[in-house]
């Protein structure tokens, strides 16, 4: 493709890539999310009209910020959605893209630190603690990623009207609380970074549970894109490296995680040849970078666990002792029964099903209503030959399954066990 006359795909990609930076700068100028979004929209329209003829500007983001700011400052254009758009050749964009020098003062104005805090703020307002997780995710996808309401609605299997309403409510909630526009102090910046990291991982997990190729699975790509953005802003933060590595290493397995009927394929049964090599390479490189900092955190430890799985070319090559030790570290950092349950899988591989079951049994209180608790307990009981108890545990797992695929997976195990028992008798 020629840089002089960018094609539609290049334009769309360039606008999507520039969106977080541009919107973040416009939000700082206007301190109003709706005005900032409208200004970005207007700048994008002008870009689509002028760039195919004039070629893209040297600095795409600076061009969009300047045009967006001017269009929003112009009272007439603020009402652009009520009046016909100006003729194609009358936009300020034409003059601009012919005049590269116009960008320079603005570029200098955007000091690197302010730019970093701008984007962090934009991400941070999407993770308001009063907003439930699903609204945080929807808001980030709409505001930061620029996904259409229709697409987000399809990803969450709700109507477009319902999603529109959800987003409007979320934005109203944000508008009521003061957004901190001043430059954050170091402690505040760390807090924001932690909240934003957690929100990105929510976006990722919303996509992770869905089958490859679905609207929802695309959320994983979006979370990874934002993770790369975050790492570019906080290039020396090992937890940001860990978060991006974790998402890449998990998403690398996506093509192997579901069979043709949409049923889950367990890690040890997956065709590892289907794993995405480039994502694994990037994830492993980031884990290496993070480890050098000797400042472990929960994302790094989870990424290190995913890295040990990714490094095993066959299931029997998996370093289960290493995984067991990493889960023990994670338990100390983030004590949680679910972490202990995950550790029990590794413990059972290293020390046998009885050792794993001992960890599992202690979790009956907090996890008694959890599908994976009964699923793992059933599998370990089965390995120990305690079939009646295993059958009961698997029955409870099926009753608690969140998706048909989860239930089907346990049912297959149960059927195999029952068939084996019938053969013996």
């Amino acid at each position: 493709m020629s840089e002089a006359s960018p094609d539609a795909a290049w334009l769309a990609a360039a606008l999507a890539a520039a969106r977080p930076r541009v919107l973040a700068a416009l939000l700082r100028v206007f301190r109003d999310l709706d005005i900032a979004e409208e200004a970005f929209q207007e700048a994008s329209l002008r870009a689509l009209r002028t760039w195919p003829r004039t070629g893209p500007p040297r600095d795409v983001a600076a061009w969009l910020i300047l045009v967006g700011r001017n269009s929003a400052l112009d009272g007439k254009r603020r009402l652009a959605h009520l009046t016909p758009l100006p003729p194609d050749d009358a936009g300020s964009g034409d003059a601009l893209s012919n005049l590269d020098d116009a960008e320079t003062p603005l570029v200098e104005e955007i000091d690197a630190q302010a730019y970093r805090d701008d984007i962090l703020r934009l991400l941070f307002i999407c993770c308001h603690p009063d907003l439930p997780a699903t609204q945080q995710i929807a808001l980030a996808l709409r505001v930061v990623s620029g996904l259409t309401v229709a697409r987000i609605a399809r990803a969450f299997l709700v109507s477009e009207a319902a999603m529109e309403q959800r987003l409007t409510r979320a934005k109203a909630r944000i508008a009521r609380s003061p957004v901190p526009y001043g430059a954050p102090g170091p402690a505040e910046r760390t807090e924001r970074l932690a909240a934003v990291s957690a929100m990105l991982y929510l976006v990722f997990n919303a996509g992770y549970s869905a089958a490859t190729g679905s609207e929802r699975a695309a959320l994983c790509d979006e979370a990874i894109r934002l993770g790369r953005l975050l790492l570019r802003l906080f290039g020396t933060d090992p937890e940001v490296m860990g978060l991006l590595a974790l998402m890449l290493l998990q998403h690398a397995r996506a093509p192997a995680r579901f069979d043709a009927d949409g049923e889950i394929i367990l890690l040890e049964d997956q065709d590892r040849g289907l794993w995405r090599g480039p994502m694994i390479a990037e994830g492993l490189a980031l884990v290496d970078k993070a480890i050098r900092h000797r400042a472990p955190g929960p994302y790094q430890v989870q990424a290190a666990i995913a890295a040990l799985h990714a490094r095993a070319t066959r299931p029997q090559d998996t370093d289960w002792a290493g995984i067991d030790a990493l889960y023990a570290t994670l338990e100390r950092m983030q004590p949680s029964p679910v972490v202990t349950l995950n550790r029990a899988v590794a413990t059972a591989k290293v020390g046998g099903p009885a050792a794993g079951l001992a960890l599992v049994e202690a979790l009956a209180g907090p996890l008694g209503g959890y599908f994976h608790f009964h699923g793992l307990r059933g599998a370990l009981l089965m390995q120990l030959g305690r079939h009646p108890e295993a059958r009961e545990a698997m029955g409870r797992a099926i009753a608690l399954a969140g998706t048909p695929a989860e239930a089907a997976h346990i049912r297959r195990q149960l059927d195999r066990m029952v068939a084996a028992d019938a053969e013996k008798n």
Binding site: W10, A12, A13, A17, V60, R225, R228, G235, E282, R292
Partner: protein
């Protein structure tokens, strides 16, 4: 005469490509590669992982300083590169430090390789 052709592009834009767009670009490049290969003109080629995966060893100081991220200075120029096969970043940094000891000043940017096409020519190596 051997020429190295260095590829520059906005990595944010490349990362925003859909799988179909990515495949279309690789397909178009593949046809050019095939043609060059038939003419015996194609040497090794490679594609790097994003700059977020980069680590830089600044060798102007002693000992050299390891910095997260790509090499960002503009007063030095790109003068060459190595491709090394190593177990991990630590080993790559050991190699870079050895090179730095032999040739101090400037920096090495360590970038993991995403895709490596070895030299397809029957007679490999330097200028003939």
């Amino acid at each position: 005469m051997l020429y190295a052709i260095l590829c520059y592009k906005d990595e944010d834009v490349v990362a925003a490509w859909s799988e179909a767009e990515e495949a279309a670009v690789m397909d178009r490049l593949g046809r050019v590669h095939e043609d060059l290969e038939r003419q015996g003109k194609l040497g090794p080629s490679l594609r790097l992982l994003p700059t977020t995966a980069a680590t830089t060893l600044r060798k102007a100081s002693e000992p050299p300083l390891v910095i997260d991220g790509p090499f960002a200075e503009t007063k030095e120029q790109l003068l060459g590169f190595y491709v090394v096969e190593v177990a991990d970043l630590d080993e790559a940094l050991r190699v870079a430090r050895d090179l730095a000891a032999a040739n101090p000043g400037g920096a090495y940017e360590l970038r993991p390789v995403l895709l490596y096409n070895p030299d397809p020519r029957p007679t490999r190596g330097g200028p003939r």
